[in-house]
Symmetry: C3
Subunit: 343 residues, 3 copies
């Protein structure tokens, strides 16, 4: 597999500085690239590596002084790199059709070109769009709907009545539509201890178009109404999304984030790894929350915060870097008090 | 589906203030409720919404001034609401019987009215109580026991020799009885690096009656003896419970909590989201641990704590709200020291 | 099942002080052991319990004063205990062969003595070593390789092209080879909001010999190159390992640890529970990171650290124990400032 540099340039709308007839055999990071391969430089800090790389072509914003290579100039080299990578690695061909070991219920609507793997279970009344791929061991509960071109990896569990859009990707082990954590403590009989009565979770889940959910993600169904994940939002592994949460479009949730019930999150938000959000909080649009923060209160649009509770980013970083001085600060305060008393 | 208000009042032992012949068509939150629907007001902060709601009937402790609606008065409106919700949404009817694509081993005891879905695996010597529901892709290892009316959602894995009580609910992707994390570092051959020798995990897991486990929960088996989850305890998604942990009855573990080996937790405890508990710690009864705390030491009965290490709740909150002043405190100490030296 | 003490002594290279013809019926903790059973004392703090135990034989470094029992003296009692436990609980016998309800693709290489459970899926071109056990519902994607004597528990998902070594153990619900969380934000059409373009994740995963992965672990495949888990490394439940991470041999990752992309971790490292590591960080050999830390920067060999950011262990502990004084420190600083101004 090799492509003409001129074809790759057309793909990414790039300008070649050098030989357009070069044959590109592969793509690699700047450290690993070999002769005949293409790499990219996204920031000036890589200029030294650009001098040393074995790559034949470098995707870059402009020519780099001192580098005798062919350049492919584009405004966003990393994006162009990703597009070329997609070009070299087209989506895997699936075996179409319903495997004889799959189990498909009654009144199921199947689109064209659907692939359903062995031991996948599709219950009654499910609607599956065109070219959907359900891999082995996937479970889709009654009445759920899955849009065109959606891909669901092995051993994903989708409960009843879940609505999934088009071009969605869900990785293995994820669970969509499990009951929200809703219990009401009540006194039962006079001498018996208080118990937790289960609040029925009778709402749904809506996953909009172009969402990707990582591996072992959990998304609870709503008590009433819907838990919603907006269009184009990307969710990393082991994220927990509670009941009645609403997440806007094009948001990023990094690994091990936990979102409590009834939280609202805007569009183009980023929650970094292991962030927690307490229940009923509202997070605005274009917000960035730093790693390991606990969001305890509402956050306005366009804020960048970090901490527990969250602080403006620079202030939050100053707190983190001050922490190491705490024991010595305590000692100094004692000394100051002592010198005051002595006088 | 509609019910007479008088029938609903009987169900929850409530007193109608208004028309008992009203037909109730549904249940909804106070913001979404429409004519013919019932909602609830659990706290005075909702009184303004009670004036605006379209609901026909309000569950409440007492009449709310200025609201011209029918009231259904009960001591615990949220509990009553949950009970009415259950009444409107009775448990789904399952298809009884063992699906032809399920795999059931030898010497398996099956109760009456059992439902086993396609691609569920029940190994040799398992005992399944009456009306148990094992959904698709569930695995139950050799010799495990499952009590009456227990419901296990798709793709749950239950290892060998696990004992599960009655009316237990386990959501998808959860794993019960995996090996505890037990290794002993030892020097092997003279020139070889130290290695970790696996300590066999030969104990069991006991899940008592009326427990609910969320999605993608993990419960490790004991090294020797048993890991125990007490009656009526409710566990949210992605909680990790280590080997030889003992959890008392009616306790709540919120999402992404992690409990290390040999921890003991009392009854009616709440561990809020993302709490961690270090190994061998003992937590008393009626304890509440705030979100994201790390429990590093034993906690007495009836304490409410938060922090890492945990502090009494108000003190812990004061620490959290003091954190933002840390950089400015450091500066002030320097100024104070400076003014002292100058003199 | 009972063994002569002299046989057990040979197994662990121990020295008997007492009767070598004793029959040992079982193994138990020092509190639970009964007559005829063996237990161990690993530290002097257990000497009081050693006096009270019902055990007939105690594994110990030396005789314990005041204890009238038979001793089995070894340099590392806990290690010896684990070995005796293994002796009493030999690995379960598996039913060999490919179950008729398993699904095995084309061009699959199967070693000798392989066990494949019902509803396990082995796709085309997979290579399975000798005596490998794939339990029910396991999925192995195209072209993956699994070494001799590896054991994979129910409902594990292994994506295409993953390489797993010999004697590896993977617990239920784990996912190996899911896509790394790689997206590049780009402006699409003029009036459309920015979107996240998926960077194809076309690298692999290599799990070396003698690794154990707990339940519901996630290991992402590399963007390019490989995500690598070194020989003998042990990973607890619900750990997340990002794309292009490299972990050295004989390292321990405790439950709910999260490791971001492109992190490098050395050999014989321990990351305690719920630790997070930010992307591209390098952690040296023999490093210990305390519970709940966030590793925000490189860590040299042989360091023991704790905190966010990580501090030398004693300093980090001093910070944690100083936190509770923060509100009172703030008050004192105000008082000191006040007294200064008054003068």
């Amino acid at each position: 597999m090799a492509y003409l540099l001129s074809d790759i340039a057309s793909l990414v709308d790039g300008k070649i500085v050098g030989d357009p007839t070069l044959l590109i055999h592969g793509i690699a990071s700047i450290e690993c690239a070999k002769k005949g391969e293409l790499t990219f430089v996204g920031s000036p800090s890589y200029h030294k590596k650009a001098i040393e790389t074995q790559a034949s072509v470098i995707l870059s914003v402009k020519k780099i002084a001192g580098v005798q290579k062919t350049f492919l100039l584009v405004p966003n080299p990393y994006y162009a790199f990703a597009r070329v990578l997609s070009y070299f690695h087209p989506p895997q061909q699936r075996v179409h059709g319903v495997n004889s070991r799959a189990v498909v219920g009654q009144h199921v609507l199947l689109g064209e070109g659907v692939s359903i793997g062995p031991c996948a279970i599709v219950e009654d009344g499910v609607q599956i769009g065109n070219r959907v791929w359900l891999s082995s061991g996937v479970f889709v509960g009654r009445g759920s709907v899955i849009g065109d071109d959606t891909q669901i990896y092995p051993n994903v569990s989708i409960y009843d009545g879940v609505k999934i859009g088009k071009r969605v990707i869900i990785h293995s082990g994820s669970v969509i539509g499990s009951d929200g954590f809703g219990f009401i403590r009540h006194e039962s009989a006079e001498d018996a201890p208080p118990k937790h009565f289960k609040i029925p979770q009778v709402g749904g889940v809506i996953i909009e178009d172009d969402v990707e959910l990582g591996a072992n993600v959990t998304v609870d169904r709503a008590t009433l109404g819907n838990t919603v994940i907006g269009e184009g939002t990307k969710v990393d592994n082991q994220v927990q999304i509670g009941h009645n949460v609403t997440i806007g479009p094009h948001t990023l949730l990094v690994a091990q984030v936990g979102i409590s019930g009834s939280v609202t999150i805007g569009h183009h938000v980023t929650l970094a790894g292991q962030v927690g959000v307490v229940d009923h909080v509202q997070i605005g649009n274009n917000v960035i929350v730093g790693a390991r923060s606990v969001v305890t209160k509402n956050i306005e649009n366009n804020q960048k915060v970090i901490g527990f509770p969250p602080l403006p980013y620079n202030k939050g970083l100053a707190v983190l870097s001050s922490l190491e001085h705490l024991p010595e600060m305590r000692k100094k305060i004692k000394q100051l008090e002592g010198s005051k008393k002595v006088k």
